[in-house]
């Protein structure tokens, strides 16, 4: 069994300038945590709407 302290700050986008704590060694939960690289969620299926066609007659 390992006993490593959990450290969310390692992978947090705000780690470099965060003013909330200087004790980065044991943060296991933080509401301000953001992933280093933001990946915008994409829809599972892309639904594309047809362009309206001009009446030809």
């Amino acid at each position: 069994m390992t006993n490593n302290p959990t450290n969310l700050c390692l992978e947090c986008a705000h780690a470099a300038y965060c003013v909330l704590t200087h004790n980065h060694s044991a943060v296991f939960s933080c509401s301000e945590f953001d992933e280093l690289q933001h990946r915008a969620p994409e829809p599972l299926l892309k639904i594309t709407q047809r362009e309206p066609e001009m009446a030809t007659i």
């Binding site: 490593n4 302290p5 450290n7 390692l10 992978e11 003013v19 704590t21 301000e32 990946r39």
Partner: protein, 431 residues
């Protein structure tokens, strides 16, 4: 020849999260004189699963990942707890957080036990397609170790509604066609259009607000005109502030990862929220407030202090300077042992995290019920149900605290553990 070699001083053993959670449990168990057999059961986890599984990457290579699921106790119902994706996920962290979930669901009066898990991974290093395959392969590997009536995962660090949608879809795909829709509640925290709960985003913050409101009602006080400060302006802090402002309270200080702001005349919550949205999430530079030194934040003059970001914020260093008469713990573990002792001596009330931020898991329970019963609940209905549930917990905790002459945190732990103890005493141990 003299031997000049010096022996290295023995290094103190690092205290893990599990040690802290066990200490908390043992302290509460001592106070309630917990049945020694039940203590033995609750001191250890029921099931621990470690899975090494292969996933094909975008470049064609295969990588092996390690996933965990720890199920602490299910005396009250199916296991419930989050799945996090993070490099520091390990069995020790999962054990501690699973145990914590058991107390939380028990105190909230939910028919759940406690679990936690995740994958040891840095998600920023993988593409969305790779993360989808990793999630789906992990779900497949977990197999029947999760299930809508057995163990119900939820989002946690680096996992979100999309992750839950992948898990639900994969799990449901392993069932026969006619059984699939019966299994949608295998996870909670799904997208609203895919079985998720309306208002899940505000459930925790609303719960924080409600516990403050119940405290005010109990003390025959009005929130109108009360001043508050909030640390963290994410989902928890923002929504708590939003609902407090609606009741006439005034936000006089706020802190996020970027900086700290104050204004004795009040900071309009919605204006700050909109400012943050337009500034990449940062509150710094908001024109209606002035910047301040973060170290002085908790010493701001106010009635209510809401630490809603992270742990170990109120300590022996700053507890003496706190002016608030109420601390509402929106975050997990924001007050450390020394800090709490000082606050108690000063007569400052603490609404403990295990109750204060339980709105989220109660919201998860509602989502599970909604899916299980084939219903779709409206927002007002959900907030009303949440209020009823939390009010009941708040009443129990305050009554227990007054009856036994103990603080609310100890009372909350005692109620949570006694509820599980009662279940064991009533049903006995097989065989």
């Amino acid at each position: 020849m003299t031997n000049t070699q010096t022996l290295e001083k023995p290094q103190p053993v690092k205290r893990g999260m599990l040690d802290n959670v066990l200490e908390q449990f043992n302290s509460a168990a001592d106070k309630i004189d917990l049945n020694p057999n039940v203590r033995k059961i609750l001191s250890i986890t029921n099931t621990e699963i470690i899975i090494h599984f292969p996933v094909r990457m975008d470049n064609g290579n295969v990588e092996i990942f390690t996933g965990y699921r720890v199920q602490h106790n299910n005396a009250l119902g199916p296991y419930k707890g989050g799945l996090r994706y993070h490099p520091t996920v390990d069995i020790d962290a999962a054990r501690a957080l699973a145990m914590w979930m058991t107390w939380k669901t028990s105190l909230a009066g939910l028919p759940y036990g406690g679990a936690k898990g995740g994958i040891q991974i840095d998600p920023s290093k993988y593409s969305k397609n790779e993360l989808e395959r990793i999630t789906r392969r992990f779900t497949y590997a977990l197999g029947e170790n999760i299930g809508p009536e057995h163990d119900i995962p939820a989002p946690d660090v680096n996992t979100n509604d999309q992750t839950m949608a992948w898990i639900a879809d994969t799990y449901m795909s392993t069932k026969s066609t006619s059984e699939r829709s019966k299994n949608q509640h295998v996870v909670t925290g799904k997208p609203v259009g895919s079985g998720g709960l309306e208002g899940r985003d505000r459930a925790t913050g609303y719960g924080v607000f409600l516990t403050i409101k119940f405290w005010a009602e109990k003390n025959n006080e009005s929130l109108n005109g009360k001043t508050f400060i909030v640390q963290g302006f994410g989902n928890v802090g923002y929504w708590a502030a939003h609902f407090l402002e609606n009741e006439g309270a005034k936000m006089v200080g706020v802190q996020d990862a970027y900086g700290s702001l104050q204004n004795k005349e009040g900071i309009t919550v919605e204006d700050l929220f909109n400012y943050g949205k337009a500034n990449n999430g940062s509150i710094v530079g908001f024109p209606e407030a002035s910047a301040m030194d973060g170290k002085e934040f908790f010493g701001l003059d106010c009635d209510i202090c809401i630490p809603a970001a992270l742990g170990n914020q109120i300590t022996a260093q700053n507890a003496h300077s706190i002016k608030a008469t109420l601390i509402a713990e929106g975050a997990n573990g924001p007050t450390d042992v020394e800090g709490e002792k000082i606050l108690m001596e000063r007569g400052i009330t603490i609404i403990p995290d295990i109750m204060c931020n339980s709105g989220g898991v109660i919201g998860s329970y509602f989502e599970w019920l909604q899916n299980r019963n084939g219903e779709l609940w409206q927002m007002d209905e959900i907030l009303e149900k949440l209020e009823k549930k939390l009010r009941s917990t708040f009443k129990k905790v305050t009554a227990y605290s007054e009856e036994k002459g103990i603080d609310m945190r100890t009372a909350a732990f005692a109620i949570a553990i006694e509820r599980i103890e009662k279940a064991y005493v009533l049903r006995g141990i097989f065989p």
